[in-house]
C-alpha cells in the first residue's frame, strides 16, 4: 500500500499533465489522480471532483493533495474542513508545495512506501531544490 496523490489545478489539462508526468517518474505503484477544472470542464475548481479524486487515490494510507493557485487552494481547504467535520473519511493532508516539482517529489517518495507525513514533507521540501 502507498500514499495516494491528488493534483488540483485551475486547469483540467495542467492537473492531468502533471499527474501523467509524476506517474511516469514514480512508477505504477502510486495512485495519482487529477482534479482540474470544474465539473463541466471549464477553468476553475470543483469540490466534488476533488472529493472523488481523494476517494479514488486512497488505499488506506492517506492522500497527499497538491494545489496550484487561487480557487484550487481555497477549494481544497474547504474540502479538508468538510472531511474533518464529517469524520471517518480518508486521512488527507494538503502540501504547501510548488505544484509540478512537489508532485514529482511526493509521488517518488510514495512509491517507496513512505508514510503520509514523509510524503507531504518531501513535496514541501521541493521549495528548496534550486535550479540555477
Amino acid at each position: 500500500m502507498t500514499v495516494g496523490i491528488v493534483l488540483v489545478s485551475h486547469s483540467p489539462a495542467v492537473a492531468g499533465s502533471v499527474a501523467e508526468m509524476a506517474a511516469e517518474l514514480a512508477g505504477p505503484s502510486v495512485a495519482i489522480r487529477a482534479a482540474g477544472g470544474t465539473d463541466d470542464g471549464r477553468f476553475g475548481t470543483s469540490i466534488d471532483l476533488i472529493a472523488a479524486a481523494v476517494k479514488a487515490a486512497d488505499s488506506g494510507d492517506g492522500v497527499c493533495v497538491l494545489m496550484d493557485m487561487g480557487s484550487s487552494v481555497l477549494t481544497a481547504k474547504t474540502l479538508l474542513e468538510d472531511l474533518e467535520d464529517d469524520g471517518g473519511g480518508p486521512l488527507v493532508r494538503l502540501a504547501d508545495a510548488p505544484f509540478t516539482e512537489g508532485a514529482v517529489a511526493a509521488a517518488v517518495l510514495a512509491s517507496t512506501g513512505q508514510d503520509l507525513d514523509t510524503v507531504v514533507g518531501s513535496a514541501e521540501q521541493a521549495w528548496s531544490m534550486r535550479k540555477l
Binding site: T45, I47, G70, T78
Partner: protein, 209 residues
C-alpha cells in the same frame, strides 16, 4: 420582522436576482483586474444555492444558509465559491436550531461569515477583497443591533456600510488573488468580490425592510 426560514430563502432568492441583473457589471469589474468570470460564477453559484434549498426544503434559517453555502461551494467554480460557500455555511451554523433569529443573532451569523472568509482566504481589511465590504457591514449591523435596533434598520446600515466599503476599494492596491500580480495597476478599480458582497447585503436589507 424576524429572520426565519422563509426570510432566509427570500434573501438568497433576492441575491440571485440582484447578481443576475448585475452579472455584466460584475464581469466587467473582474475583467479589469481579475479573470473576468465573477459575474457568471456568482450567478451560477447562487442559482445552485436556490436549487439546493428547493431540494432540501430546510425548516430553519440556519439550515437554509447551510444549504445555500453547499450549493455555492459545489457549483461556483472560482475562488468566490469556497469563500462565499464557507461564509454562508458558517453563518448558518452560527444560527443553530432557532426557527426565528433576532437581529443580534443575525449579526453574530454575519460575523461568523466574516471570520470564515478571513480564515479561509487569509485576507484582511485593506487587501482589496470582499472583506472590505463585509467587515464594515458587519460592524454597522452589530452597532444598530447592540442599541436594540430592529433587524430592518441593522440590515439597512449593513448594506450602506458594504457600499461605502466597496467605494473604498477603488484606491486600494490588491494584495490577494490574481489582481495582486498587477501591483499598482490594480489601483483605480472597484473590487469585484466587494461589489458582489454589497449586492448580497443590499438584497438582505430589501428583504427585511
Amino acid at each position: 420582522m424576524a429572520f426565519d426560514a422563509q426570510t432566509a430563502t427570500a434573501w438568497i432568492t433576492a441575491s440571485e436576482a440582484a447578481v443576475k441583473a448585475d452579472e455584466a457589471r460584475l464581469t466587467g469589474l473582474d475583467a479589469a483586474i481579475g479573470d473576468g468570470d465573477h459575474g457568471a460564477n456568482m450567478a451560477r453559484g447562487l442559482a445552485a444555492a436556490l436549487t439546493n434549498i428547493a431540494e432540501r426544503a430546510p425548516s430553519t434559517p440556519g439550515d437554509v444558509l447551510v444549504a445555500a453555502g453547499r450549493g455555492i461551494v459545489a457549483k461556483t467554480g472560482g475562488a468566490s465559491g469556497p469563500l462565499y460557500g464557507s461564509a454562508f455555511r458558517r453563518a448558518g451554523k452560527a444560527l443553530g436550531d432557532t426557527t426565528s433569529a433576532s437581529a443580534d443573532e443575525v449579526g453574530a451569523a454575519l460575523e461568523a461569515a466574516l471570520t470564515a472568509i478571513k480564515g479561509l482566504g487569509g485576507a484582511n481589511e485593506g487587501d482589496k477583497t470582499m472583506i472590505d465590504a463585509l467587515a464594515p457591514a458587519v460592524a454597522a449591523f452589530q452597532a444598530v443591533a447592540a442599541d436594540g435596533g430592529p433587524l430592518a434598520a441593522a440590515a439597512a446600515a449593513a448594506a450602506d456600510g458594504a457600499e461605502q466599503g466597496l467605494a473604498a476599494t477603488v484606491p486600494m492596491q490588491a494584495r490577494k488573488g490574481r489582481a495582486s500580480y498587477l501591483g499598482p495597476r490594480s489601483v483605480g478599480h472597484e473590487d469585484p468580490g466587494a461589489a458582489s458582497t454589497a449586492l448580497i447585503l443590499r438584497a438582505l436589507a430589501e428583504v427585511v425592510a
